[in-house]
């Protein structure tokens, strides 16, 4: 199982031009293997830049990116191997589809890995299955699919490389609620079957709360929170400071707390809120008796 760690990394976009921007500023973190890690932050906080450093698309200006303890830039000629091990699904990945059929498009990654035709075919069918594209779809043109289907075909293109770590940059952006649901259940299914590490970038707190074991919060190029889901969501004030929309249900709990009701404000799902309110209600009735 591969572990990604990042040591004191800074990155500049447009270095040496009048448009220079410091996108990352001294970020240190590691992605715990076998978990689903969520990276959350406001637009422009540096999430995409961060994940593009993970698989060697970008090279840090300062600091190191390690994969299983080895600097990924130690041998720049072999950076492709890092990209096969750390699969990155970019934002709006449907714009990368180019082949005549979905089958060929999903095969692009595995073919670049130099696998045998038989192995490629096997992986294509497996990956398409994970994202819910049946065998009958494989010979269609990617340009004939619906938006959600295109997105899933593009994700399959990365899954087919069987990466140790799968990173998805805003996988549900621009999809309708049913499409979002489908994408996330595909990802969960994939994770259960493959046991690989998954990183999801999002700016939706609700998604993070539902699917992630660990959460990292980015703000203005810095990592400001990093911990388990419970640890991070138990400090809603700090999330609000970073300009993030906290889950609706947490907002409700905060409002109750403001009115002097002793609720746990680290609640981020409606099920937990229900339990918490029932607990309070029982305590209340017991006291008043």
């Amino acid at each position: 199982m591969s572990e990604i760690s990042v040591e004191n990394v800074s990155f500049f976009h447009g270095k040496g031009t009048p448009y220079e921007i410091k996108a990352l500023d001294g970020v240190t973190l590691n992605i715990v293997p076998n978990t689903i890690t969520g990276i959350i932050g406001h637009t422009g906080s540096g999430k995409s830049t961060l994940v593009e450093l993970f698989n060697g698309i970008l090279k840090p200006a300062e600091g190191r990116v390690l994969l299983d303890g080895a600097d990924i830039w130690a041998k720049p000629k072999e950076i492709r191997n890092v990209r096969f091990r750390v699969g990155l699904v970019m934002q709006y990945p449907e714009s990368q589809l180019f082949e005549e059929t979905i089958r060929q498009d999903i095969a692009f990654g595995p073919r670049n890995m130099g696998l045998s035709e038989q192995e490629i075919e096997e992986r294509v069918i497996e990956a398409a299955g994970f994202v819910g594209l049946g065998k009958d779809m494989l010979d269609k043109s990617p340009f004939d699919l619906s938006g959600g289907q295109k997105r899933r075909a593009a994700i399959a293109g990365i899954i087919a490389m069987r990466p140790d770590v799968l990173i998805l940059d805003e996988p549900a952006a621009g999809l309708d609620p049913a499409g979002r649901e489908a994408i996330f259940s595909n990802i969960m299914e994939y994770r259960k079957n493959s046991g690989s590490t998954v990183v999801i970038v999002s700016h939706s707190m609700e998604d993070m709360a539902r699917y992630c074991d660990r959460v990292m919060v980015m703000s203005e190029g810095k990592l400001i929170m990093n911990g388990t889901r419970d640890e991070v969501f138990s400090k809603p004030e700090r999330l609000a400071e970073a300009g993030l929309d906290i889950p609706q249900i947490t907002k409700l709990m905060l409002l109750l707390r403001e009115r002097g009701i002793e609720v746990d404000t680290g609640v981020y799902t409606s099920e937990r809120a229900y339990e918490e309110l029932i607990r309070l209600f029982k305590k209340d009735t017991a006291q008043s008796r």
Binding site: P18, Y19, E52, I57, R83, S95, N112, M113, F143, G157
Partner: protein, 270 residues
């Protein structure tokens, strides 16, 4: 990558940035004439000083200017080489085997360098560094508008230019994103034979063309929705100010001065 697409416009607050773009086009044209007509040693000195002055007025760092000069360095060297070794004259400075170098050759080479240098500084300082491409097309449209009377479709050409310029950064950015996405799938754009590299571009070009077509259709629809039919007149955004006129007058005097120096003598001709 993006900066190339922005036509090297260098955002800054300077007297040159503030000038009316139409005036800047005229200034560039007059300056080019001055550099081309100059035949006089003093004139070349004046040109060189004026070029440096213009750079200072535009508040562009010399490093940036120098970078834009490097592509033409080769052309300069080439010209210098020919002029030094193949000019025949009266002042023989150096002779060895079949090689003869004359003073005239050295002079010519020096003048060529100054001329190319000032031509590039002139056009890039007035037109690319301190004027955005969009301002430039508007300026050219305005300056050519008398041709509309002769039924030349100046407006249509200007609109086409504007749209093309508007979409270059978008397409460059998109090409960048698509390349990144394919790299993440192990595409390799930088090694292999020429044929292999050309083939490696297919996964970039096809999605890029698809998205360019989409942009074109969306833009056409959006323009039609706003009743664009290509015969409207654009509002004049700005009027010439005193400083614009003053700059133009200074430049005309400069050109007159250079020509006057030529007439005065001290003319160097090969």
């Amino acid at each position: 990558m993006k900066n190339i697409a922005l036509g090297q416009y260098y955002p800054a607050k300077s007297p040159l940035h503030r000038l009316d773009p139409r005036i800047k086009v005229l200034l560039a044209l007059i300056y080019i004439c001055a550099a081309a007509f100059c035949k006089n040693i003093i004139g070349f000195g004046v040109l060189l000083v004026s070029a440096l002055l213009i750079v200072a007025l535009g508040r562009i760092p010399f490093k940036t200017i120098f970078r834009s000069l490097t592509p033409v360095l080769f052309v300069m060297l080439f010209a210098v080489f020919f002029q030094v070794f193949f000019t025949k004259g009266d002042m023989l400075l150096f002779a060895w085997w079949k090689l003869q170098i004359y003073g005239e050759g050295l002079y010519l080479a020096l003048f060529t360098i100054v001329r190319i240098f000032t031509l590039i500084i002139g056009t890039s300082m007035f037109l690319t560094y301190t004027t955005t491409p969009i301002e430039l097309t508007y300026a050219i449209e305005d300056l050519l508008s008398p041709l509309k009377k002769l039924k030349v479709p100046v407006h249509d050409f200007a609109m086409m230019m504007t749209l093309a310029l508007r979409f270059i950064p978008t397409l460059v950015e998109e090409a960048d994103k698509i390349m990144t996405a394919q790299k993440a799938r192990g595409a390799d754009f930088s090694t292999g034979s020429l044929v292999q590299r050309a083939k490696a571009l297919k996964p970039v070009l096809i999605p890029l063309i698809v998205s360019a077509m989409r942009h074109a259709v969306e833009l056409a629809v959006a323009m039609e929705c706003r009743c664009y039919h290509g015969d409207g007149t654009r509002m004049v955004v700005r009027k010439c100010r005193f400083s614009d006129i003053a700059a133009l007058i200074v430049m005309i005097i400069f050109l007159a001065g250079i020509i006057y120096l030529n007439i005065l003598g001290l003319v160097y001709t090969a």
